[in-house]
Symmetry: D2
Subunit: 438 residues, 4 copies
């Protein structure tokens, strides 16, 4: 993760302290269950929790020092805990294998991360919804291929974003469920040395489901699905970010990222107001997305597991979640404070001399009895003149002066065809679909 | 798509004939709805369906020839249909835009493809389940890091695959729902020239949901999620394929791909039996996976759409679905006919002189009062001798001869610790979790 | 490959006919060398070449039919050739292994492909150079972050593209050399059954280098580098394509893809002229790029080889080369026929009221003794007024009216600072760097 | 970057201190050139270097604090330097733009990184070469498809790795040259406010080439090529890592990663010796590779630049170089200390009852006048018996007992065909190709 693109709450999930805390809880809950089953003394479990109740600081450096010798992180941790707790600690980790701890811990971390991301999505959705209603009927030009097409409203653009991020939320909920499983099944997943009830107990305590069948590890198709989902969410961020970047172009300038008083756009050019936040989001999206392939490459571990996934996850676990958290929050800020310029939207809408209404004329001619081909030709020959005049000519005026057109449509009919309200008549319907009643 | 890795049913979905058929149905259903709304004459809709009832051959070459002039595929298609149907056809496509047809068609094709893939998964799951029960209690060595760990059963390996592909099925059902939407909303998604009830009618007829809000196109985050899901499924295929490849290694040889009598493994080496099907699957998985990133790059279309996604989808639409269909079927065949060698599994299980039971001894020593560290050291010093003998020595015999061990565990107790059945006692439990009761 | 994005010459390289022709030549040249070494009769080599001299049609269907039985492509081919040539053919393939033929054939195909791509790049470079000189001094606004910055020339934009594709050419030459090696080293690369001189002879005849050490196969790091290079070239295509798409935006409209008279931009909106070629190139770039990762995943074949790379190469070999060939040719056409609008460029340049000259004023103030911070503040306070007026105000006029500015710079000095020619004084220097003298 | 997979020298390149040092040198060298050209006073340059000569500590926190206000990193840096140096510092950065500093700095950092990586490759090549000569003639089985094929030597395996990493070195030298350019060309690359001789001077001082034509930035196709090359090198690391992992499998055990006395392989299974280093390298390769796509996505910046590449490079710049440096060093250690077991290699070589010699028998039968098909059938029918006996039968003995074989080859001839030395006769030739004479 890059500190510049990291927020504290998500970063904390990936701290050594959080990891070791989760490890402890897994071990202590497992010891509880083992004690309940009579495998270990109840005093062992009690000793662990008694120590934990003192809210002991976790000495990461000490654990790392032990690992430097043992070259095994879980053994190092257990050794350190045993030093703190004393003799009773020897009953800890009975029948378990390191991966039971590591994989269940990762499940907890990823669900913690998913919860933050879900909250981020809620905040983003709220910001988008607020601005969407604010601009529900603000007319603006719709563009396909970067070329003016027909009128839309700025609120509709945001409604599309709302629907898209609502889908992202649904996906993330599914992705969270994918990784929210607990496996405490021993060295090769057979529960040879540990009763399945221990797994069930720990799972329940941690809010996880039981992994139905594990090898030494929780299967990595789950994590692949999780990170692929983050990549899709990042791609949706990129879409909205690029929309803002386009709108802020000098020639378009229908909206702008908020520009604070002290901010300098360029060391050389003092007039610049650059969409740097959304450009940044574009780059961050590339990074989050790039985690999808290594996560998928992690699936095909050898036999009951190899450890090749581990280094990948040390990168993408923090990187993808921390970066996505930051990006969602940044996008929320951008949308929340976006400077929107309805006058400029109207000006751009008008700049093509009414070409944006050409399709409606085409349809009206067809309705009035012309063949589709003839209608198309009639509209196009006038439209091309307007186009070539760079908006100086008016399509409406040209049509009114074209006898083959007026033979079918009166001047009044033609004027009606250029009504902007015509394009907004279904905005309510669409908003109801997206935001529900109310 | 590569013909060698393609099956007819899936390939047919991507044929020009199927595409044009779907286009026709979209247009004709829409004309029905438009007629119902009084926008076009009912005779227009009737004319279309009357012609369609003659089961006309679709002249792909003729349509292509028109497109060569118009450089626009939907216009070419409409022109050709109009040539066939006659004057009434001019009411077709009223208020619609090409993308209404193209995107809804893609939705139909992708759901058709998903249905085939779901059937493939069912067949694969059935094959895996059959073989899993066949080898439910066939002992084999579990390996982590490629190194012998502890015993499992071959049925458990397959149960893991079953659970994994069951998850894949759940994911694919979700992915199918992602892309199963219909958009008939006009040039920029405002329904300016077409009533939303047309969309609802066509959607219902085609078995699709209504897209709540579209631009000119159905948003591409849906397709990104679809192809990312295929990538995850492909990665699960890779995992099982690599398992088979490992099992077929000369030194392991616990299972083999079926080898037909006439087959030649090598032009040079007549003795070879190579796991070429699963190697092939490994490569095919790489290809299906590679569609995920371009699908995600397709999300950020400009404004209300640009057409950059189209060429990508012309590749990955067929390639990813056809290849995955082929791969699933191939894997089903591999599992169905897999030659399994239980004797060799037992032989491999025995080859390490009993080292696979070391953990159980460790636990027993701890239970018998030794500290964890002492227990570890006691086991390891004997284990290392066995390891260095390459399995010639027996861990059980060495332990029986180690007075520090026998001070805590009797010879009888030690012998009991080497019981294979101990590792299988929870297989029923796991099978019930994976396959359900019964 | 998708036929719509394929050109005949490149497609032919990947035809079965070309592949079998190359196989034959490899086998026949090898037989020559074997005959020279006395391993096989010279009559065997002569029989092969005599048959070949008859320019026999290669019966792909017959070979495929044999493969359906043998499940081995090279054996099928050899069997078919033997049927044609007769008894002498039994000396063919002596000591060779299938991969000797397959991998050397792939080397020939990839170098043939690279040669076409190099010719494509030459054509593209020629088109860019011609247009660059045509517009060497055509002023246009330079933009960073999509925001007007300072003046450049349109020729400079093309000079940048020229330099970029020149680098691509250098890279492709290196990539061609990477894959232009011949391996005829037998089943595991030891030359146990074939003399290294056979390899040297075939390599020389085919214009390839000798692979210094092969396993059963030519190492796949070579191919990974080849396809990664194609991915970089595709990314450069994307850059220029996106530049054109931006320039064609309605609000910018400084350049347009050529629009042929019969062309229809939209089935619904007759006025539209969309940059569909460059949008298409954006998508094609994504596809070519997507071959890089599977090509890299192909590197780590097991031991002396597994065949997982083969299916990947059946896709990406044709797909990446055919698509890149098409894309380069399409881009060449776009640049060659690009409609360029210098008047519009000037108009856009002027639209910000002279803000593009702000940096020069900043520097002049600094030179005139103001501190950098003061200069920045002076310029920015006037620049912001112009910015907020949407270009209605003139920066020059405001500066002339700002006493703190005129205290340091005279009206005449200020006017001089707004000279466009100032920005073009080094265009000759840059052109000389890029295109060389003359 | 993940600290666990980072070494100090490479990490230091990406420290804030190193970055600011490079920034200073760029600015100071530029000021020298500007002074030489008479644009700024020579005293300004002198003031900068005088301060620098005091080896001032760079106060990263102070610079960060300024950036928190200005939201612009280069301005923050210049402000801080001006605070240290005093009034003369106002001449710094004359006519330059931030990207001149940032991009040239990145060029310096990437060349520093490339130099470390080249040294890493040299160390790796030396280790591989040493072990290759040590085992030049150590016989081992060559495997294709994971199945025993024919004998090779362990030295040959390493010679292949040597050739592969030699290619990687050549590629890295080319990649270093790609990014080793300096651009000081002003806000949009026109040198409007800065003389090209400044660029030339700074380039020469920093050991960089002049960028022939830049926009505001150095074009990103260069960086794409750089990171793609790192991805290929990582893939070669993966290949060798997977080879070691295979060799260490329990059933193969021909080589092992060095296992230090205190090391624990498993918290549960004391007998385990896992190839954790090479498994780790497999994962690290996935990560380095994953930088290739975002680097390619960075190429298509908008117009004269947008800043989307920046966040990507803040990740992949450090991540890919630091991780690759670590991986190369780790692989060097693995190879250097690899435990190689020639006896086990011989044992594995013998385990198939001589099947590995089948091709040679096939060729001899052909030479003795049998048709290829008959020879194949004769060998295969005996080979299959050996195969099915799991190596208990001997191919040589079976052949000697097969009258159709002995009709063509005497017992003595057959025995000769099973000579291991036959397969090693060209090892010298191959070694000379790979390592040169000597």
């Amino acid at each position: 993760m890059v500190p510049r693109y990291a927020r504290p709450a998500m970063t904390a999930i990936w701290s050594a302290e959080n990891r070791f805390s989760i490890w402890f809880e897994i071990e202590a809950h497992a010891t509880d269950a083992l004690a309940e089953l009579g495998v270990v003394p109840k005093s062992a479990a009690k000793a662990l929790w008694d120590w934990w109740a003192t809210k002991p600081a976790i000495d990461v450096a000490a654990i790392d020092a032990i690992e430097a010798v043992t070259k095994h992180d879980v053994i190092a941790f257990l050794t350190w805990v045993a030093e703190q707790v004393g003799d009773e600690a020897r009953f800890m980790h009975q029948g378990m294998t390191s991966s039971d701890v590591l994989d269940t811990c990762l499940a907890v971390q990823l669900t913690q991360a998913a919860d933050l991301l879900l909250a981020d999505l809620d905040a983003l959705l709220a910001a988008i919804k607020r601005r969407a209603y604010e601009h529900k009927l603000t007319p603006t030009i719709g563009r396909s291929h970067g070329i003016h097409a027909e009128p839309v409203t700025f609120g509709l653009k945001l409604a599309e974003a709302y629907a898209e991020f609502s889908r992202c939320k649904t996906r993330l909920i599914a992705a969270r469920a994918e990784v929210a499983t607990c496996a405490i099944s021993g060295a090769v997943g057979t529960f040879a040395n540990i009763d399945p009830r221990v797994e069930a107990h720990v799972a329940a305590k941690l809010g996880l489901a039981v992994e139905p069948v594990s090898t030494q590890v929780i299967p990595r198709d789950r994590h692949a699905m999780f990170f692929a989902t983050l990549g899709v969410i990042a791609s949706s961020i990129e879409r909205l970010a690029i929309e803002v970047r386009h709108l802020q172009r000098t020639e378009v300038l229908e909206a702008e990222e908020y520009f604070s008083p002290g901010q300098k756009g360029s060391s050389a050019m003092p007039h610049k107001r650059n969409p740097v936040l959304t450009e940044n989001l574009t780059g961050l999206a590339r990074m989050v997305r790039s985690a999808a392939i290594p996560a998928m490459e992690n699936v095909a571990l050898w036999h009951e597991r190899d450890i090749s996934h581990s280094s990948v996850e040390r990168f993408i676990g923090p990187d993808a979640t921390v970066t996505l958290d930051f990006a969602l929050a940044r996008l929320t800020g951008v949308i929340d404070k976006l400077l929107v310029y309805p006058e400029r939207m109207q000006k751009n809408l008008d700049r093509m001399g009414g070409l944006v209404h050409s399709q409606r004329v085409l349809l009206a001619l067809t309705q009035a009895g012309a063949s589709r081909e003839d209608s198309y030709a009639l509209v196009q020959r006038n439209a091309m003149k307007v186009w070539e005049s760079d908006g100086a000519l008016s399509l409406l005026e040209l049509l009114k002066a074209d006898p083959e057109v007026t033979a079918r449509l009166s001047a009044e009919q033609l004027t009606d065809l250029f009504d902007l309200g015509y394009h907004m008549k279904n905005v309510d319907t669409i908003f109801a679909r997206v935001f529900g009643a109310g």
